[in-house]
């Protein structure tokens, strides 16, 4: 049986349609994907993301240990800041993409993908270098309050100064009486917060947020719109757009790979790959003929298969068909003409710049 988050009963109460995702029984939609998508883009939506995992590094060796397995540079991160990056294998393949929240140099929380909870914990434990590493995934609930009106909703429920928490910053706080890590992070491209709370207090927190957001028309938001929202921003999804057979350079994540920061697991392989050149690159594309590209559809050019679609959807905001695909570097430039083979027929596509959707003020 699939795992359940502490908010399972809450989702049923909201008449969610539940699906299994990464071994979890999760809400894919409540009122409807497009309605929820639009609520997040124009007002505010609330997601249960308790399926995400939390691995915590503590002690004097915590920072150095994480720095040695993380592609981004944690030396640039102060207390109260967060940073996105990858964990890589020796061969450069991606173990996971994660966000690391530095509370202090001796207390860092790694937020990992649901499907990778155990794998990441095992990997991190094996590379702990004497730091105290704990899998606290079951202890934490997590909700994401996302949208341009998220801040005004949250303000009603906390005395924490939210103006002091900039993008990719966080602080401990109390929300509706529930102790939380209040982080200004998310996976939608909108302003918003991710609230990490004790698992047992997830439901009162959720209910308080839904109640407080009523004037703004807050909507519970499911995994369906989480996917369309993230794809409009070209945010990668582990397991679809990348896995342990792809490197962060191929996945277009060179901006979180700091080869000059010093030694880390995978550095040598990534440096070599950079010097030798890539054989494929993840690009954004838009279909110029009717259709919807899906994960696994072949990318074709002159009758030959040259790549593969990793994510695709109809964009609710742009009303166009968008997607991500691996293609040879020679075909990766903006404007490059490709075909996506949908049910045996090539459908015309063009490589476009990402994010697909530009957000003002972001």
């Amino acid at each position: 049986m699939a795992l359940r988050t502490p908010l399972y009963a809450t989702h049923l109460r909201h008449a969610a349609r539940m699906v299994e995702f990464a071994g979890w029984d999760m809400p894919v939609q409540y009122a409807g994907l497009i309605e929820e998508h639009e609520a997040v883009r124009s007002a505010v939506g609330l997601f249960d993301v308790s399926h995400m995992g939390e691995v915590v590094f503590r002690g004097p060796k915590a920072l150095a240990a994480l720095q040695a397995v993380f592609t981004n540079d944690l030396s640039k991160v102060a207390d109260g800041q967060a940073q996105y990056g990858c964990l890589c294998r020796d061969d450069g393949g991606i173990v996971d993409d994660v966000v690391i929240y530095r509370r202090t140099a001796e207390d860092l929380l790694v937020c990992v993908n649901a499907a990778n909870r155990q794998k990441d914990f095992d990997w991190l434990k094996a590379h702990a270098g004497g730091a105290d590493v704990r899998n606290e995934s079951d202890d934490w609930g997590q909700v994401a309050l996302q949208g341009p009106k998220a801040v005004q909703v949250l303000r009603r429920l906390t005395s924490t100064n939210l103006d002091a928490i900039g993008t990719y910053r966080h602080a401990p706080g109390t929300v509706a009486g529930v102790p939380c890590l209040v982080a200004r992070t998310g996976y939608t491209g909108e302003d918003g917060f991710e609230l990490f709370c004790p698992a047992a207090q997830s439901e009162p927190l959720w209910n308080a947020l839904m109640e407080a957001g009523r004037p703004e028309g807050i909507q519970p938001a499911g995994l369906g719109c989480r996917d369309t929202l993230r794809l409009e921003m070209a945010y990668r999804l582990y397991g679809s757009d990348m896995d342990d057979q792809t490197s962060p350079l191929e996945a277009g994540l060179a901006w979180v790979v700091k080869l000059d920061k010093g030694e880390f697991v995978g550095r040598a392989a990534l440096l070599k790959q950079k010097e030798q050149g890539l054989s494929r690159k993840l690009v954004g594309f838009q279909l110029t003929e009717p259709g919807i590209a899906r994960h696994g559809h072949p990318v074709v050019r002159d009758g030959r298969t040259v790549g593969v679609v990793t994510s695709g959807t109809r964009s609710p905001s742009l009303k166009t068909s968008i997607g991500l695909a691996y293609v040879p570097p020679a075909l990766a430039a903006e404007g490059s003409a490709l075909g996506v083979e949908i049910r045996g027929k090539p459908v015309a596509a063009t490589v476009v710049k990402t994010p697909f959707l530009s957000r003002k003020g972001h």
């Binding site: 894919v28 994907l33 497009i34 369906g224 996917d227 259709g291 049910r343």
Partner: protein
């Protein structure tokens, strides 16, 4: 969920309506609800032949792709082309605005072999 009494149904959740010599085809309220927001539909052209039980097109929601199966065999004589630009009609009004194609049946008897509303409702209830 509505299941009009005067229509015939397939187990794959298409409906069929006799209209003069033609059979008009769409998907049921249950089907559109299961799919979620429909964002794309691919239909045959007027003049194409369709065969009972075989795929005549696809309907896609943001998350899922679903094939459409012909309830009867025959020639496509009309296509609801406005659906290309307004596929949401399938969600909003699956039995009227959301119709998909009209078929000139090659074997009119096939229509009588489809499920009636009561049998279709029982089929849906079974699926939970």
């Amino acid at each position: 969920m509505t299941i009009p009494d005067d229509l015939k149904y397939t187990k794959d959740h298409e409906w069929a309506r006799q209209k003069g010599s033609k059979v008009v085809v769409g998907i049921t309220d249950f089907a559109q609800d299961q799919l979620g927001d429909v964002v794309f539909v691919e239909l045959p052209a007027v003049g194409d032949e369709v065969k009972r039980g075989e795929s005549f097109g696809v309907v896609e929601s943001t998350k899922a792709v679903s094939e459409l199966f012909a309830p009867v065999s025959g020639k496509v004589v009309e296509v609801n082309s406005p659906l290309a630009d307004a596929p949401e009609s399938i969600n909003e009004d699956p039995y009227e605005e959301g119709w998909m194609i009209a078929i000139e049946p090659s074997n009119p008897k096939e229509l009588t072999e489809l499920l009636d509303a009561k049998a279709y409702k029982a089929h849906v209830d079974e699926q939970g």
